[in-house]
Symmetry: C2
Subunit: 217 residues, 2 copies
């Protein structure tokens, strides 16, 4: 049986739609009353694991799920041994450096050396500032990173920005874009190698559907 | 102005009650319609920062909050330089090793060497298994750790257990208790040293109130 790891939250609805186009109906996970974390597809050929964003690559890397859908941001932050198969095109957002609108900083390079930078994505942030050759002190937070500059725990933050609303509501502005992120279909490398065609067929159908979406746009 | 970092979630109600007994009324944070993460006390002498569990010691360690309330489990996992001031007695739970009820394992030492153990608390888990001298492979998950044994990603989990309901619902049993956890009042060491008496007064009142609760019980 094929197991698919799906991230709870913003990517879920589109993920379910993409698998539906490949013949796997996981719409039960969208039912607000659903409390199960393991949900069979209607055809019973497959099941979905409903897990947190950061756990999708873990289940795929360990082979407990052969396929998964997760944001590029998570893949880049956690660097697990999974195959990135299809850029699904939804879940658009970018990883940004943001500061207080009143700070006067226009670019990340304006930040004074040894500034404190708060982030949930400290690996991404470290890589970015290392490339700039700008030494910063990273403060790992697990939520509400926008509080960093407001409380003074950090001069800047590195965080995912979709609409920009959270930044604006908190008096912050984005001064640098680190990378653009979209949802990705990922696979377990060994499962793909041993696949007798069943997994590849799902991947192909999702890829075709994704190309179609792109053409319509 | 005194800033207090409070953890969202299970500890919040009791935390607010304890500060109320010290004259700081943060009850606004309990209003379901409240969306602010920084909330002044009614007397305006202090403010509360509403953050995630794991971020409480960060704000306190960096001195953006002089005081905070957080579970002992978080303190043990993250090892930040904060002063642990009062065992508040609420938020009782324990860090447990759990396995499938059908596994037959009765103690952590029954686990085969190199078993996989899933946890959000990988530092606590590593310390425990190191002391047992039992080599295990730790799998870091960020949520729904009980899925670990069900999907086969891990033979055992290390997780917080309060009522035991989640374990039972998922066919798991606790086979070892690593430590007991309760909520703690923590402080920023430098703020405590520089305090002119205002912070100490709050600590003393919370300590007295906590002793009173203990006596009544």
């Amino acid at each position: 049986m094929i197991t698919v790891a799906l991230a709870k939250g913003a990517l879920l609805k589109d993920s379910v739609a993409r698998f539906a186009s490949a013949g796997l109906d996981f719409s039960q996970v969208l039912d607000p009353s659903n409390r199960h974390l393991m949900v069979p597809s209607k055809c019973r050929r497959a099941r979905a694991l409903l897990v947190r964003n950061g756990d999708v690559p873990v289940y795929v890397a360990y082979g407990q799920a052969q396929l998964g859908v997760v944001g590029f941001d998570v893949l880049k932050e956690h660097q697990m041994p999974v195959a990135s198969l299809v850029d699904l095109g939804f879940g658009n957002c970018h990883m940004a450096v943001a500061v207080k609108a009143t700070s006067g900083y226009k670019n990340a390079t304006d930040l004074p050396p040894h500034s404190r930078v708060a982030s949930k994505f400290t690996n991404c942030a470290r890589e970015f500032f290392d490339e700039l050759d700008l030494p910063v002190e990273l403060v790992h937070l697990t939520g509400s990173v926008e509080l960093g500059p407001l409380t003074g725990v950090a001069e800047a933050i590195v965080d995912l920005v979709a609409t920009g609303r959270t930044l604006k509501d908190n008096g912050l502005v984005s001064i640098d874009e680190i990378f653009h992120s979209t949802a990705r279909l990922i696979g377990n490398p060994l499962s793909l190698r041993l696949d007798s065609g069943e997994i590849q067929q799902i991947i192909d159908e999702i890829r075709n559907q994704t190309d179609l979406h792109r053409t319509i746009k």
